[in-house]
Assembly symmetry: C2
Homo-oligomer: 381 residues x 2
Amino acid sequence: MKRKNISTALAMLLAAGSLAYAQEQQQPQRPARQNPEVFTGVVINGDNSVTFRYKNPKAVKVEVSGEFMEGSAQLVEKDGIWTYTTAPLASEMYFYTLSVDGSPIVDMNYSMTKDIPRWMNYFIISGEKGDIYSVQDVPHGTVSSRWYESKMLQMRRRVNVYTPAGYENSKKKYPVFYLLHGNACDENSWLDLGRAAQILDNLIAQGKAEPMIVVMTNGNPAQQAAPAYFGDTYTNANTMPGIAAFPDTFSEVIAFVESNYRTISKKEGRAIAGFSMGGGHAFTISKEMPNTFDYVGLFSAAGSNISRDEEKAKLLTMKKNGYKLYYIGCGTDDFLYRNVLAYNKQLDDIGFKYYYRETSGGHTWGPWRIFLSEMVPMLFK
Amino acid sequence: MKRKNISTALAMLLAAGSLAYAQEQQQPQRPARQNPEVFTGVVINGDNSVTFRYKNPKAVKVEVSGEFMEGSAQLVEKDGIWTYTTAPLASEMYFYTLSVDGSPIVDMNYSMTKDIPRWMNYFIISGEKGDIYSVQDVPHGTVSSRWYESKMLQMRRRVNVYTPAGYENSKKKYPVFYLLHGNACDENSWLDLGRAAQILDNLIAQGKAEPMIVVMTNGNPAQQAAPAYFGDTYTNANTMPGIAAFPDTFSEVIAFVESNYRTISKKEGRAIAGFSMGGGHAFTISKEMPNTFDYVGLFSAAGSNISRDEEKAKLLTMKKNGYKLYYIGCGTDDFLYRNVLAYNKQLDDIGFKYYYRETSGGHTWGPWRIFLSEMVPMLFK
């Protein structure tokens, strides 16, 4: 990709996070009929401050709230266009919500993703993090939505699989990173909100990460697939009476992946991590299969606890078997922060080595994207 | 999948289109904090009438519009919840837009998809069409988002590929159906709005269609991928100065597919179809490569015209080479209806055989989903 043409340049611009800026540049090309609400959306200014715009002449009060501010701010109306400009923002992916006369809305004309269980607008500020979370003009992996048969859950289940650039045209075997999601999320969450494909594409292209397969499962055993795949917005419980717990069925996932992909089918070629409920799943799966993963990641993990002797014994078995990385990450404002520290103490007491990473932030995607971006380069080296 | 468990039953319900009904059933399980606007969304009633609900105590006027009605209807407010119930609706996939005090909104709590260039809510009414457009509990194909290198356009380009259930675990070679999109759409449109994966899954499972690979390209040569993939909502022009027209680059797509998949790499194993601009692309590509496709589909095609002798000559060459199906479809309310009939007349004049399908409806996805559902069973027999 030596020479850049218009569209490559455009893609780079977009990839650099200047989405609305690029839109501005494109105005002359956009037939008005295609976008009457062209004055809505987000403009990322040169100083990384962000201007929110919303066209609604009849509104009485328009507010914006998001991860980038405390509480909310009021937009000011002029000629029916409401605007508000933030202070310069640090490089990140940010969700925001507009509220019109007290009712939250999403801007149908701007980029959107789905969180539990609602749709939200988002934008990315370029820079250290934003560039890793954005689509860059580098070789891209393939993202496949496949279905495996779960005998234990007696259903077809959807799984998203990232294979790194070059996978299809090589004979090489690749290590596998199993990436699990939290309560009320699904197999799409790490892709949509976690930016997993972009993070892997970019870190591999920079030579910071080994090419690897990433498997994103649905950790809700009562679901065949993400509710959105059925046109539903409801995310049902992650457990259901009479249905096996997801971690108990994980051997089926590994068997599916290792019989369908060219994998390094041994401990040194397997990693598993998750956030919240998925962190609890990674905790459970790794201790119940104590000789299966060389790399384990617990991000804001729920339910990691070895107060009972038989649980301690399982970790000690894992310690005896050996492992290369046990990554624990948590935000200092996370409601699980104390539980995480308590678990670290339990590990200290039995001399179980782990890598601990603390960051600002709560039980949100900000820290989880950071933990993923930092753990991936530590894998399979 | 003999035995059905709770979640399979749920999936079937959802698949049958009774999304909101299923949501109702699930209420007790849904933590309120996850969905404060639980009273928004759509309820599909037993008689297939649809009740729209929107919670907004401060709104003065709430209206709904959609493909299922002429103009719009006003919702009636009670205790801050606005509702409106339609007459019983025919089985279909329907988009709808709520308008609050004159400003269109999308319901962040209900199912959404992206059309040009905005996000819209949708629902599916079960029955003859709806069941084919919905996720059913049948074997599912794999949908992969891959990237190919276009030397002609000098960029990496995203392409969505559907491989039928069983592809991965067979040695068999499969025919390929190239599915092209219209102006301002992209490689995701046939999946998101055209329901291509569900239509193929269901028709193959019913034994009505041959298992086939479906390739969904991006027909805008100035784009590397769908704008939404970059977090943008802007869909740029399908042509750009100094960049080759997409049909001129199609040999690259075929070469990529046939070198990366187990394909029947001859005329009898290739089909191509598209709607609007994509219909024009299918028209152009099939006549410029007159011995390449045994099956061609023009849905509400833009630009199909052989008034010039050299164009006639190309169709006559195609006629001489032979082909099995030249499918032409159009809605009687389509603004291109007359052009389509004029093209049919041109074909009659040179004795070029075609299959013509007319349906009610305009230049919209309704007719295009019908044409896809009817053409797929005619392929590769």
